[in-house]
Symmetry: C2
Subunit: 431 residues, 2 copies
């Protein structure tokens, strides 16, 4: 029998415990697929005494996770601590420097420090893998890095945050408002106590920057992602979108082209006949458009201990099999450095929503600004529902045109006394 | 610069030409991802003089594809000849016996001879890869073999034949009948001149037997697939299904359990809120349910030269990177031999459609047989539309019950003079 692959777990939250449960439950199967046993030898977490509902006595305990990679009984460290810096990064660096493989579920760390870690891993000729960092149990990193490797990927986009998708789905199904649904999601454990990273689109931006690098062969550029979240959406926006034949989904979208790397996280109007319109609840889905493969869609659970553990252990099986390819599908030195793309010339249709004072002449003022900026209106709805007294909602969908025209219209209206809050612009997902 | 991976192409149909185009178009990108150039050195096909719309002068020509693997300028043979036996199999055997890697798009050959070829490849320590054999450009073989490798897969199912899905979608959209739509699909090149393998479910059965082996770690058992096609479906069945909240899709489904390996290809009624209900046209989609990952869905173009070439070249990139893992995710000796599962005890809901003589008492005769067999009816519709004079259609959906009860009801009605053709039974896809 081949030597077991010896694993250290750094972090014993729900994902860490999920990995232990998976390795226990599927032990024989994993050994058949990996060609050798995968054996957890040592674990490390902040609090040794905490009851995690799982027997830790089979494993050695290490107080200092930063030195896990230096232990002789460790071939791979699985980092599940979280956070872009701090102990997670320290542990990851020392692991690779010690010549050991690193598997991580940490999207923030990979988005910020992935290139540094990947370069270190190449120097040390060890694997760095992070399937669990993007889209939970969906093997989308592998699908882009290997499955679609023959293609120039033209566009990659998807639903990358389960919390937002859950909230949007509930808002859609019940007509309730954002704050109300968020509070319920927190009570149910679907949203964190501090939900900022999720609802502001930062978590999706972390994932998008990783996907873009692998899809396009470009350097990770988290700072280049323009991200907005779902906090400004009203029940009335969702109702409006539905009336027009759309659902609203938080979409991360990336394109690489001659003018640079485009990366945006924003709620989009998704036509109801698009596959992403049927992605409900905490599900994630990623679409990659290759120049030979055409449109590929990958869908599944975007979070949770089981799906995340599934992705972590798939990486471990790859390592056990000797699969040590570059983390971002090609050596770091070959990744292109693309500047963020200007967006003004992008052609798109937009949903533009104004909250305005309910008095004569307001609509004329808005439509004049749109006309002056060259924005052509396809449909317009004025609604009073769900707004405060004296305030109405005016929503419209533009014909296809440059994004700069919409920006110019908003500039013309900036500070107009008739607006009771800044306008909301959402793009419409094009086929 | 690393040595190029030298490729021989056996077969220059649309897929072979697609591979040449892809390798030309994406040459630089492929080299960055593969770590070395992928270079087509020699090609072989039946007719050297045929105009394929592509310049073949850069490549050596070999008349006898069976000896391609023996040439010194070949590291990998890509078999795109087709057919379970004959030249494809001869070429594949000699390639592997010569110690060269084999990549194939040939689902029939892998379904019938995959285990033999995989065992030979293990003996020779060369790669055998067949991503293009299942679901065109969707990297579903890799997703199951590696991406979901940590999971016990409980069920794998999907839409595996683009021709059938195209025909069903057109029938659905237009209300036209099968024969009419098939003829049009043939004229448009979406269906072959001899469409038997597609419309009778054999092509889907080939693919299902391969997916099942990889998903469950079982020996390929094509003979154990119970397959029926779409030829008996009428426009009225599709209309009926729609009225009840379903679409009809040809689904290949496999499960492995204590009672053996269940493999069935059959048109199913798919609830409109299931992701597969939105898979239209020539698209393929595969669902795998893992015990930790939950439900994973992979969707994309199921055929065509571009998508198929994308899958072939992904395999070549894997080989160039040194990825030589077992063809069926574990060594052939470790694959379990499971007998075909008995189906009588399976619990399901069924759509049962009778074409009957339009005379009094027929409905009582049918419902009595169903009652006597213990089949409980959830809804029943009697329709005259789209049937010949004197003939009516009676369609019903049963409550959940054992499949054996439906079989027994059909036995009781076998040869009944009121039936103008044998009843049609379709299962309803359960969540």
């Amino acid at each position: 029998m081949a030597q077991p692959l010896k694993i250290a777990l750094a972090g014993l939250g729900t994902v860490g415990v999920g990995v232990i449960r998976l390795v226990e439950a599927n032990r024989a199967l994993i050994e058949r697929r990996a060609g050798r046993p995968i054996q957890i030898t040592v674990v490390s977490a902040r609090d040794r005494r905490k009851d995690r509902g799982i027997d830790l006595t089979p494993y050695a305990w290490e107080d200092d996770m930063v030195i896990l990679g230096e232990r002789a009984d460790v071939d791979v460290v699985v980092e599940m601590v979280g956070g872009a810096d701090g102990p997670a990064l320290a542990c990851s660096r020392t692991t690779i420097e010690a010549g050991k493989a690193l598997v991580t579920a940490n999207k923030a760390m990979i988005a910020h420090h992935g290139l540094e870690l990947a370069a270190k891993a190449e120097d040390q000729r060890v694997a760095l893998k992070f399937e669990a960092a993007v889209a939970g149990g969906i093997p989308v990193i592998k699908a882009l890095r290997e499955g679609a490797a023959a293609n120039a990927i033209e566009r990659v986009y998807g639903i990358l945050n389960g919390t937002c998708n859950y909230i949007l789905t509930v808002m859609e199904d019940t007509g309730r408002d954002f704050a109300d649904v968020l509070a319920e999601a927190q009570a149910l454990g679907y949203a964190e106590a501090d939900p900022t990273f999720d609802i502001e689109g930062i978590d999706a931006a972390h994932k998008l920057s990783i996907l873009a690098a692998i899809a396009f062969g470009t350097r990770v550029d988290f700072a280049g992602v323009v991200a907005s979240g779902i906090t400004r959406l009203r029940a009335a926006d969702i109702a409006q979108a539905q009336a027009l034949g759309y659902v609203i989904r938080l979409i991360g979208m990336a394109e690489a082209g001659a003018d640079g790397l485009f990366q945006r996280v924003q709620p989009h109007l998704v036509p109801v006949d698009h596959p992403l319109a049927h992605v409900d609840g905490a599900t994630n889905a990623v679409v990659a458009e290759g120049n030979f493969s055409g449109r590929l869609l990958f869908q599944g659970a975007g979070a949770g201990d089981g799906p995340t553990a599934s992705a972590v252990v798939a990486d471990l099986i790859d390592i056990a099999r000797g699969e040590l390819g570059p983390a971002f599908s090609m050596p770091v030195a070959e990744l292109e450095a693309l500047a963020p793309a200007a967006t003004g010339h992008r052609q798109s249709r937009a949903y533009i929503r104004f909250m305005v004072a309910d008095r004569p002449g307001v609509l004329a003022e808005i439509t004049a600004a749109l006309r002056d900026a060259g924005v052509s209106i396809e449909s317009l709805i004025q609604k009073g529902r769900a707004a405060d007294a004296g305030e109405v909602m005016v929503a419209m969908v533009s014909h296809e045109g440059p994004e700069s025209a919409v920006t110019e219209a908003l500039r013309l209206l900036d500070g107009a006394p008739c607006l009771t809050e800044p306008p909301l612009v959402l793009h419409i997902l094009a086929d």
